[in-house]
Symmetry: C2
Subunit: 243 residues, 2 copies
Amino acid sequence: MGKVIVVGIGPGNYENMTIRADLALQCCDVIVGYHVYVDLVRERYPDKEFLTTPMTQEAKRCQMALDKAKEGHTVAMVCSGDSGIYGMAALIYELRGEENTPSVEVIPGLTAACSGASLLGAPLTHDFAIISLSDRLTRWETIEARLEAAAQADLSMVLYNPASKGRPDHLRNACEILLRRLPEDRICGVCRNIGREGESTTVLTLGQLRTAQMDMFCTVFIGNGMTRLIDGKMVTPRGYRDV
Amino acid sequence: MGKVIVVGIGPGNYENMTIRADLALQCCDVIVGYHVYVDLVRERYPDKEFLTTPMTQEAKRCQMALDKAKEGHTVAMVCSGDSGIYGMAALIYELRGEENTPSVEVIPGLTAACSGASLLGAPLTHDFAIISLSDRLTRWETIEARLEAAAQADLSMVLYNPASKGRPDHLRNACEILLRRLPEDRICGVCRNIGREGESTTVLTLGQLRTAQMDMFCTVFIGNGMTRLIDGKMVTPRGYRDV
C-alpha cells in the first residue's frame, strides 16, 4: 500500500528545508503540487514522476495524490512553507475521510512567519497572530474582525496573501482597519520572495504600508507596541533584558 | 571578527532541523545555550566549546555569545524551536545595540506550532494566534486580554508554556477565560515532548483541557469553530473542498 507524505518545503531554497523533508523527497516516487512549488524541487530530485495542477485546484491536486498512493506509490505532496499552515494537510485528511488508508504523514516546514521574521530581525519574540488577507475562502468580515481583535490585544501580526491581481486593495483596507487602533508610526516590515531569487526586505511604518506596492510573493509583519528598530532591524523585545 | 549565529534547532531531533541549522552547527566553534537545548546537540557536534546557563539567565547567555564573538569566534546560540519566536534573536540585537559588530545571523527553525500541529493532524490550516501563558515577563492581564480577543475572533490558538512548577494553574485559568466565549466541546490537542523521547499527543475537548495534567514540555492547541476530528486527527478545514 502506498502513502501520502505532505511535505512543507519551507520558503523555497534547499538550505531552509528540514533534513526530514529532504529525505522524504529523496525516498518518494511521485511528487505532486502546485506547479510553482514543484518547480522549486524539480532539479534536485529529478528521477520522480511529477504531477502538477494550477493554483485554485487544491482538491483535485490532493485527490491526485491520494489516488497515486492507492495505486501503491509513495507520494510527496509538496507545500511551500509549512504543510499545515494554509497548506494541504487538512484537505488530504478531509478527502481521505474516515478510512485510514492510504497512510498519511505530515512533515512540517518553515512557514513564512519564521523565515521572513529572521530576515527582518526578530519581530515575533512575543505573542502574535497569523492572518491571511485572501477572501477567496473566507468572508472579508471575518478577516476584518480578526485584524481588529489582534490590534486591540496588542498582538504582533503576520499577514499572508496581502495582495494578488484579483485583490489589489486588500492590504490598504487592512491597514485602514488597523489604523483605527494603532498609530501611524507602528513599525512594520515586508519580505518579498523569501528564500528565492530576488529576496528583499523593507522596514516601514503602518502609515506607509497603506500605500506600499505589494504582490502575492510578499509577507507583511506588523509590530506590537514594544517593537522598535535597532540598527535597521525590526525587534520586538520580550523583556528578558529587564529581569 | 567573529559572528553570532542564532540557530533555531526545531523541536529537538536532528531530522526536524533545517539543513542550514545543521551546517551552522558544523561550522561554528562555540555553541552557547540553555543547558537542556545544548544537550540536544552536544553528541552530534562534539568538537566544539560548549557554554551553558540555567533557565532564567537569558541576558547573561546572550552576552556570553556576543563576548565570544568579539574574541573572534563563530558562535552558535541555540534556541529550541525557532530562533525568533520566544527565542534569543531579539535579545542578541538588543544587547548588541546600534553597533553593527559582531555580525549577527538569524537562522529560523520549526516552532512548536508547526511541529506539534503536524503530529495532531492539521489544526492550523486557518488564521491563528500563538500566545504564551508564562507571566514571568508579561502581565497576566495582557495574556488574558489576548486569549479573549483570539476567542472572540474565532482564531485557532497555540498556547506555549501552558504550565510550570511555579504556575500550575495557568492553563485552567486560561480555559476559564476561553470558556466564556467558546463551547465546552471545542476540539483541542496537547503535544508533549515534540521530537524528543516520550513524544505523545492527546486530543480532548476544551472542557476536559481545563483539568488536564500539564507541564513545561507541553504545547496546547485550541481549534476554531470549524475544527473537527477525522479518524482521530484534529483537522481545521480552510474551505478548499467547497470551492
